[in-house]
């Protein structure tokens, strides 16, 4: 029982700070997007595509979470947007206090703040970061049995992107089964099939992002 109380306190404290982040985003009319998945499911490549498409039209910054190295942040910063790397020193998820500190290093004259979480299909789902929406990627080589095995993550998704459809033919992946399991678990989640690497099928997702940017801008 003790451990549950500790976890509850940690999560409550996390939510308090996340609510402050949300107020900051709202008062500055910045759409906040939290991107989550297993390691290597394609978060950074997806963010690269988003930045390439939107950077001429919207002001974007990224916060990049990782245990160690600057590898992902360097890829995103190379596209010319403000990027802050958070190294979690072994921690398995971003929490709101890390994001709150990172926000101090970012100019808040923005339309879109993208947060790339630590590659982990479990823990990041439990830590609200004050963002408006959650995007969860599942990549075809991970297998078509993952949705019900990792229900916490798919439950918090506003959008699920089924990524790496370009190599689906080389791995065992029943798209329909995955779509049905997402719908059963979380009927409100939008589902799009994409290949971020090949820049394929991204339009409906990018339209969804843009409608959110505009909506928060006009709030």
């Amino acid at each position: 029982m003790k451990r549950i109380v500790v976890e509850k306190k940690i999560l409550e404290k996390n939510d308090d700070i996340a609510n402050q982040i949300r107020k900051t985003l709202d008062s500055n009319h910045i759409f906040g997007l939290n991107v989550m998945s297993s390691p290597g499911a394609g978060k950074t490549t997806l963010i690269e595509r988003m930045v390439e498409i939107f950077k001429s039209k919207y002001k974007i910054a990224a916060i990049d979470g990782d245990l160690d190295t600057q590898r992902d942040a360097q890829r995103i910063a190379a596209l010319g947007i403000e990027t802050v790397q958070i190294n979690t020193s072994g921690a398995c998820h971003l929490d709101s206090s890390m994001v709150y500190k990172a926000l101090n290093d970012i100019t808040l004259d923005l339309d879109l703040l993208i947060i790339e979480n630590v590659g982990n299909l479990v823990c990041p789902a439990s830590f609200y970061l004050g963002t408006h929406k959650n995007v969860v990627l599942i990549s075809t080589p991970e297998g078509d049995d993952k949705v019900k095995k990792y229900p916490t993550m798919f439950n918090v998704a506003d959008v699920v992107l089924i990524n790496k459809t370009d190599i689906a033919q080389f791995v065992k992946f029943d798209v329909e089964k995955v779509e049905n399991e997402i719908k059963e678990l979380n009927p409100h989640a939008l589902i799009y099939k994409i290949s971020a690497l090949k820049n394929d099928g991204l339009e409906p997702f990018l339209s969804w992002v843009e409608s959110n940017i505009v909506s928060v801008k006009n709030q």
Copy 2:
């Protein structure tokens, strides 16, 4: 500081129970193997191959960790060995108390106990389960940048299996780079390139497992 103290206490308690598990394994001459990776990197398929090869020669049982569902345990139990599913109810790793309880449901007249951890490249690395060795899988579609981004996991590996080499040609994966980064981080880890699905390249790993089974048997 408070949180660090809590984590230290949790890990110390975990180690105490893990040491009891290790005593049980040693006194029964059972080789304990902890299998870890990201979701979908091929843990269950690897275990299927091990069981197929060894079940006529050695007595094997498996403990299978997952947030939810019995999917992996059902696949392993279908091969005719004793299998216990641990559902962690959202927790991101197996801890030693879960394994200790599961051991009560297993006949200890065994040569090999395989533990399949929760699919997560971060948290399971911090929780010693009393097993003799750790096997970590990294699959080619996850990308060749993962070793240094997830150093805790690769640091605790006795063996790293580079899996899904059969689809390496369809994804960006520099095998030599990954091998060099593993050697730099953890020079003691053995590295084998395999395709568990295609049953390719497994012999050196299976020999290593067998030598460990024999060694613990003769202790």
